[in-house]
């Protein structure tokens, strides 16, 4: 469990990135911070592993103030995935994945073996392990980034717009993959994005932020869609434009067709199934 206790951050230039922010991020759940640039979402994420120190307030992991932890040890205990993967260009893929275990003293051979297994986990061919990051596609690099973050088997995974730099098709792929991984591994994930669809897709808890780290609304995607807290949220999730409003329409096919679901503009987006969804939360 991660707790923010009335956390504020004023940068040296005087800008208030975050002001009096409090929130509980439950264990083994995915919390997504979403908002436009300048809303302080990345600042909040980076406070968890002390890449940013709060000006006031505390960040607690399982009840322990991170300010009391050794920075380097703390960071090694937390998985971190960032945009464009942030891989070390001079290390082979397998060594990139093995970085943190080697730093914490695992024998190189053993760490590499575990790294190859992690390549399987994130759906990469083991043969890619011997290449350098620059020889991989953007999507592959991002998977390596996830594998590296998982290598030390951390309880917490911080993901800073990890899929922002890859094309939409690959992004959709990676999102599905992350959901599968999260179902298997049950990490406490903190995910930052400016894409509300990505937030709804991945989150157990969505936190919509306004400028200065002000929480516009926090809740499950269903809660937010069902009852947007204010006009800002409604506009942010697209509810005000009818983007989220779906209608049922009888399909064609002489009475035999299934009921189809159409969006606010009347464009068909799916069919209505019998019974509840498999993955109903």
């Amino acid at each position: 469990m991660i707790e923010f206790e009335s956390v504020s951050k004023r940068f040296d230039d005087g800008t208030m990135a975050v002001e009096d922010f409090s929130l509980v991020l439950p264990s083994r759940q995915t919390t997504v911070f979403v908002g436009s640039s300048g809303c302080g979402k990345t600042t909040l994420l980076r406070m968890v592993n002390r890449m940013v120190e709060p000006t006031s307030g505390r960040v607690l992991i399982d009840g322990e103030d991170v300010a009391g932890r050794d920075k380097v040890q703390l960071r090694r205990s937390i998985g971190y995935v960032l945009q464009a993967a942030g891989l070390l260009p001079h290390r082979k893929v397998v060594d990139n994945v093995a970085t943190v275990p080697v730093l914490t003293g695992t024998a190189k051979a053993k760490a590499r073996e575990a790294a190859y297994e992690l390549l399987d986990t994130v759906g990469l061919d083991r043969a890619l392990g011997k290449r350098y990051p620059a020889q991989l596609s953007g999507g592959q690099q991002q998977r390596v980034g996830v594998a590296r973050a998982l290598a030390s088997d951390p309880n917490i995974l911080l993901m800073d717009e990890p899929f922002g730099a890859v094309d939409p098709l690959v992004r959709a792929d990676l999102q599905v993959e992350l959901r599968r991984l999260q179902q298997d591994l049950g990490k406490t994930v903190v995910f930052v994005t400016h894409d509300i669809d990505e937030a709804f897709l991945l989150a157990d808890q969505v936190v919509i932020l306004k400028k200065g780290g002000v929480v516009a609304q926090a809740g499950s995607p269903a809660e937010i869609l069902a009852a947007p807290a204010d006009d800002f949220v409604a506009s942010f999730v697209g509810a005000d434009r009818g983007k989220r409003t779906l209608h049922l329409r009888d399909g064609d096919g002489g009475g035999k067709g299934r009921t189809i679901v159409v969006d606010g503009d009347g464009r068909p987006i799916g069919v209505l199934a019998d019974g509840p969804a498999d993955g109903a939360r």
């Binding site: 380097v72 970085t99 350098y132």
Partner: protein, 250 residues
């Protein structure tokens, strides 16, 4: 020319070996010494100015006075070859400190941030991330230093050092053109061999940076160090080196 060379093969060999030995230590020393200076230069703007300006100033010290002053400063005998080695190291550091500062500054900030975020200690990050990634630019710098040092070694004949520069001065005094030509050719050869060795070392030590790798174009990596591409600063003019070769006339 062949006759003269054949008759003096032993002398040429001995001078060449000596020349190489005299050059290696300053090249290695300036490489090693410049790294902490480069690190320092990237701490803040003041330190950067001190290192860069200091380097330029060192480089403007004329070699002859330096040879005269060094024995007094470091307590060596006037004809000690150590004087030459120290003087060449000073010139090497003067060039290399700037290269090292540029090299370390050239390392991608995102990569450095990412390595901090995943748990590198500041020292570990410097040694295992920043230094290797500064490699291509460091390599470009040390190539310049190597060539200029080899040329400068010749000046050492003024203070009694036995190296290829002896062939220039002796050949000139005695009016043997062949001797001068052999001296120049051997200097060039030594410089060429050093350059090739350094480039090959770079290939071995920086395999990720090797030309012809599939991902290079896509990733837009630093240009081939062997040809000195756009990402590598252009070598400074070899004023000292020129003076060094000319020093045979002194």
């Amino acid at each position: 020319m062949l006759d003269w060379t054949r008759a003096n093969l032993d002398l040429v060999r001995e001078l060449t070996i000596n020349h190489v030995q005299l050059a290696i230590v300053p090249i290695l020393a300036s490489f090693v010494l410049s790294i902490p200076l480069g690190w320092l230069a990237n701490r803040n703007r003041v330190l950067r100015a001190v290192v860069i300006t200091g380097g330029s100033l060192l480089y403007t010290i004329p070699s002859l006075p330096l040879f005269v002053i060094l024995p007094i400063l470091i307590g060596t005998r006037v004809l000690d070859s150590l004087n030459l080695v120290v003087a060449l190291t000073i010139y090497g550091v003067a060039v290399m400190a700037r290269s090292a500062a540029d090299a370390l500054a050239s390392v991608d900030r995102t990569t450095v941030e990412a390595s901090t975020a995943i748990g590198y200690s500041p020292f570990g990050r410097f040694v295992r991330v920043e230094l290797p990634l500064a490699g291509p630019v460091l390599l470009a710098g040390i190539r310049v230093v190597a060539v200029s040092t080899i040329a400068l070694v010749s000046v050492g004949v003024i203070i009694g050092s036995q190296n290829l520069g002896y062939l220039f001065s002796n050949g000139k005094q005695r009016g043997i053109l062949e001797e001068v030509v052999v001296g120049i050719l051997m200097s060039l050869l030594v410089a060429l061999v050093f350059d090739v060795v350094i480039v090959l070392l770079g290939r071995v030590l920086m395999p990720w940076n090797r030309p012809g790798r599939a991902g290079r174009k896509r990733a837009g990596l630093v240009a081939d160090p062997a040809t000195g591409g756009p990402a590598v600063p252009a070598p400074p003019k070899l004023d000292k080196a020129d003076a060094g070769v000319g020093g045979g006339d002194a």
